[in-house]
């Protein structure tokens, strides 16, 4: 009960933040009825999905301060669990998604235990390595469709059990529900014991250990929470695309994007990942579709994207939320 009260308690945020959040919620609820085209709807779904990923990453990467660049492997685990169980045994989404989460958590404990002996750069590169190894295995594993991937059977009628709908609107509301569960969870998480322990570890790991915090165990716990979040998104991705292959759900680029969006928005803050993905996903999509249509301009969108990354990391490593907070302090 205590935890639930904490999760819905937004009183410690400032008034503009609370008002902004309320307006944002109303906007999201009304969004499918505002006459947006299917492309815009798809972008909105991507935005919510990447916010979900980003919030997950934020537990270990933002609050814990560990540069984690291997989240795509858990997207893959979530997506493959849902897809494979559906193809093989016709197991409904609502059963296979929790199973996927459990597998992701189990796997994250196995990987996390040796992984968190490492720090800094060593850790960052090791997470990339684990992700690449898993991707290579899935690319060559014939049982799970190898490089071709697997297609989910398409149902003729909309089916809630298997989460198959004709219209994007249903998917939008579904991912929105997941997004809000994530927000309430994060609101509890940042006030929980683990949240405080992680921030302490980020500040000064040795001091935290001297106060009796088991730093490695805390990091592993946060890592598995992050993995669970990401696996949920992976499961959604499987039923949304109706198609899973190692390049779309396990790629290094995906891992990087997840971490990058949180960092650009402001790692270690509640709204950072949401702002980051709200900024980068539309930029990525619209720039891509706009420039992709022009002949001979392939890749320019990524160059702009990359230049943005460089500028932010060189001048404002605390991201967009950092800039906002700076202005607020100056205004006071």
């Amino acid at each position: 009960m205590e935890a639930l009260r904490d999760a819905f308690d937004f009183r410690d945020f400032s008034k503009p933040e609370r008002v902004g959040f309320a307006i944002f919620t109303l906007f999201l609820l009304a969004f499918p009825w505002l006459g947006a085209g299917s492309f815009v709807k798809a972008v909105a779904i991507q935005f919510l999905l990447f916010s979900l990923f980003g919030m997950g990453w934020n537990t270990i990467g933002g609050y814990g301060g560990q540069v984690e660049l291997g989240k795509a492997q858990y997207v893959g685990i979530g997506a493959y669990t849902v897809a494979l169980t559906m193809v093989w045994w016709k197991i409904p989404f609502w059963v296979s998604m929790p199973v996927g989460i459990l597998i992701a958590i189990g796997y994250s404990f196995i990987i996390g235990y040796p992984l968190f002996r490492l720090k800094g750069h060593y850790f960052a590169i090791a997470t990339i390595c684990t992700s690449l190894v898993l991707q290579d295995i899935f690319i060559n594993w014939k049982l799970v469709g190898a490089a071709k991937g697997i297609e989910l059977p398409i149902h003729e009628h909309p089916d809630f059990l298997y989460m198959q709908f004709k219209s994007d609107t249903y998917y939008f509301y579904f991912i929105m529900a997941l997004f809000y569960v994530a927000i309430f969870y994060m609101n509890w998480f940042r006030k929980s014991k683990l949240g405080f322990q992680l921030r302490m570890i980020k500040e000064d790991e040795e001091a935290a250990e001297s106060l009796g915090i088991d730093a490695r165990w805390c990091k592993i716990k946060a890592y598995s929470i992050a993995s669970a979040f990401v696996a949920v998104g992976g499961g959604f991705l499987a039923v949304y695309n109706l198609y899973v292959d190692p390049y779309s759900v396990m790629d290094l680029d995906l891992s990087i994007k997840i971490a990058l969006m949180s960092m650009l928005g402001g790692a270690g803050s509640m709204w950072g990942p949401i702002i980051g993905s709200g900024f980068l996903v539309p930029l990525d999509r619209f720039l891509g579709s706009w420039l992709g249509a022009q002949k001979g301009l392939i890749g320019v969108d990524f160059m702009i994207y990359a230049a943005l990354i460089m500028i932010v990391s060189a001048y404002q490593p605390r991201g967009i939320w950092g800039i906002i907070e700076q202005f607020r302090k100056r205004g006071r």
Binding site: V67, Y122, L132
Partner: protein, 295 residues
Amino acid sequence: MIVLDALLQGVLMGLLFALVALGLTIIFGMMDIVNFAHGEFLMIGMYTAYWTSLLLHVDPLIALPASAIVGMLLGLASYYCLVKYLLRGPIIAQLFGTFGLMLFLRYLAQFLFGIDYRIVQKGLLVGKTLSIGLFRFDWTKLSAAILSLIAFLFVYTLLHRTKLGKALRATALNREAANYMGIKTERMNALAWMIGGGTVGIAGGLIVNFWYVYPTVGLLFVMIAFASVAMGGFGSIKGAFFAGILIGIIEMLFPMFGHLTGWDFFGPHFKFTVVYFAYFVIVVLRPQGLFGWKH
């Protein structure tokens, strides 16, 4: 016999991996920054050699100085325009900063040259083989390995036998103390990036003789370089050398092992997976690497 052949081929490949890893390890040793764009430097070096040889109708090996110079300039430019500012920020900003540079260079190459796979078709050594007894070596690989060994020895001598190298190593060991001794540490950083870019540019010019060049070629090589640097110990030059050769051998022997035993799992498609896995195991069990001097 076949195993010995694979072993020798592995050593040849390993010498090139070592040269790629050299720049990475120097930069890391100097300022604790991991250069994700290292593979893209290599890609640019490859393209430089490719286009110089194609447009000026010279052998790719003669175009090598061009690759080296372009690599050096690229290293210098990225230090003064980006890395200098990144060094002030937290580690995550450093990682993403060089990652942004990597994406930028990759898509710049894609924009300029397209996504075609290109390979050098004409050249003095292309397609010729040398037979010694029962072994057959591609001349391109052999000369690339020899030249990379020379380049490696040159840089090693530069770092360990000259005053400049002494200043560089002093900065790597203790930046503040070096600063007090009148060493311009800022300039040493730039020098490290210049050497790093130059060596990887040369490596690119050598590799293009027998490897396709395309905009995303860097990722594979940068992961191998990370693995060799980690195996040898971050910042250790000797370590990068031996680890590079070791990885070359693993990469050649692994498919050979699968071929001999007939197990599908040990196929050639997993040869780089095993390198990543080796990185993971080594870094977890022995974080300072095989020859680590700085942790």
